[in-house]
Symmetry: C2
Subunit: 355 residues, 2 copies
């Protein structure tokens, strides 16, 4: 790929992508000429176009058709957007304000923040969006409580520095005395307090078997709760507006639609697809992936609190995507998410049990 294109070639290439994004139709030399380059003739544009085709930027579906952009053309286009101070023409001030407002208003409840964020992004862009929360698992247990209930039941409470708590009702073997509960409580605290959740994965009870004696069952229970917690709180992926992709002619056949949806709805494959560019500020990937989302472009942005990346959000759509708008919205998301999380993480978060 030759490093530098002439200014006119750049202009033409940019125009072609612009037109293709808005119409979805192959772009002809005269389209470009009349709307973007009135100072030259279409024949000139044509010769430039065949040069660009030789360079691998664009192609013709067939001889008598216009040109459509290839991957390289989109890359060039995205680069040229980011270079020229992104959010300049993408969103109007009014739109920006509206979206920003939504972010601040709807993200008040931190529990399903990623879901709400994905919704906002999908609504604003009209593409399928996703949000992935990287659970750092850098969570420390502060306190473990064993609370006796009526009957032979008890509840285990686990309090962490991030304020989360897991609880589970357990059956006790027999009616037990307060002393037993207290002893168990203090043992549990000695064993678990101050530990990081990650260490627990290969935690061996025998390390501390001097004292366990009658408490083995309870220790096992607690360990089990923690393991379930860790495994169920790995990265969570939320997808919103999956069906929006079907609005675009790229996915007008049911087979394609089905293939797309089955990848999109499988959290695991999504997590994997997105794992590559976890920490990249703003990543744009275009074109063939060997993983089922062919002919797609994926734009992701990481949001962070302080220096830590806590999640990513993004958009998945046809290659022919309104990159300007998408990038604009995602920039907005980054700013607001970081702020919202930062302010709300000071409060303890809640969890309500499930049946």
């Amino acid at each position: 790929m030759s490093k530098e294109l002439s200014e006119r070639k750049k202009k033409i290439l940019h125009a072609l992508v612009d037109l293709y994004i808005s119409t979805g139709q192959p772009v002809s030399s005269s389209d470009i000429q009349s709307k973007y380059l009135p100072e030259v003739s279409s024949a000139t544009v044509r010769s430039e176009l065949s040069a660009l085709e030789a360079l691998g930027y664009i192609e013709q579906p067939h001889t008598s058709a216009g040109r459509i952009p290839l991957k390289e053309a989109y890359k060039f286009y995205v680069d040229s957007i980011s270079a020229t101070g992104s959010s300049e023409t993408a969103l109007t001030d009014r739109e920006t304000e509206l979206i920003r407002e939504k972010f601040f208003k709807r993200l008040a409840h931190i529990e399903d923040m990623s879901k709400e964020a994905a919704k906002i992004i999908s609504d604003a862009t009209n593409y399928t969006s996703f949000c992935i929360e990287r659970s750092s698992m850098d969570i420390e247990i502060e306190e473990v409580k064993l609370v006796p209930l009526k009957g032979r039941k008890a509840v285990v409470l686990i309090v962490t520095d991030k304020g989360m708590l897991a609880n589970k009702a357990i059956d006790l073997a027999e009616d037990v005395k307060d002393e037993y509960i207290e002893a168990a409580s203090s043992l549990l605290n000695r064993v678990f307090s101050g530990r990081n959740l990650l260490e627990l994965e290969n935690f061996d009870l025998s390390e501390i078997d001097v004292e366990i004696r009658g408490f083995k069952d309870i220790l096992d229970e607690v360990l089990n709760i923690l393991r379930i917690y860790v495994s169920s709180h790995s990265d969570t992926v939320v997808v919103e507006g999956a069906l929006k992709m079907l609005d675009y002619p790229e996915y007008s056949s049911v087979e394609d639609a089905k293939a797309f949806l089955s990848v999109i709805e499988d959290k695991d494959s999504m997590a994997q697809i997105l794992s590559d560019d976890g920490s990249i500020e703003l990543s744009v990937r275009i074109g063939k992936e060997d993983n089922g989302v062919d002919r797609c472009a994926i734009v992701t942005a990481a949001y962070r609190v302080g220096d830590d990346v806590v999640g990513q959000a993004g958009v998945i759509g046809p290659e022919r995507m309104d990159y300007k708008k998408v990038i604009g919205v995602l920039e907005l998301m980054k700013q607001t998410m970081s702020k919202v999380i930062d302010t709300s993480s000071k409060h303890i978060t809640d969890g309500h049990g499930e049946d």
Copy 2:
């Protein structure tokens, strides 16, 4: 609709639906004759067919095509299945055993039982399936506990007769003494113990304002937790295999597919669609609904524990559905679900908190 069809008409109608279900193509007189009625000629079948058409059971897409079943024909077909001791030919013994085994094995964890059940049904039938859990809300609060944690935090535990528990960390205004906690605990118990969750919806704190004094905040918190619990634990709907519908030619256009999927994935509209025949043992609804799932058949079965309907599961598919198989699988579901729930409801169920 004339009350009784001649035996031969019944046989022909049944044959027609059978053939149409398996091929999806309009059925011709000679198809029926050769495969189901070799003792008469196709001309005879033809005259019977036009009689059945006049009766409103079947129709011709166009003059030179075979007949396809109408709603009435499906109804007749389903009735004739249920009449002849359903699960006779539907599933082989081996299949039955396999499915039954799956039910017993995979439904061990009661938390996501409906999800698993839906999965099994969808796998077994190859149709989109759903499962709806009717949360009776007939839940009584047994005990409320206020557990102090380190710092200024405390956890509210609510234990119900169904074993569920909701918890939430709350901030206390200031460092409080044990006596305060104890007093609050006993007040909470006096106020809430023995109450049914449903009464709480329009519960007025002022009723008991004699004693609340310094405890108003905590009472509010608890009430709030309960309300959130009630609202988030209304009927839950799970859908599995939504994309399977797209395998059937009935939904080969993207528009149709999209319309279908957007109804299916909206829990509320699903809940509404299914609310009609909540307590019906086995309900089959075929054809035009004014709610978005056109040209669909919906088969639902209620499962119960004792006399209470605790949920429904079912299948949604093209009118041209393998009713024998579906009904067979759902029968199996009813039996096993009831048993599984009954045995496992003796244990207390757990809930682990979320962040």
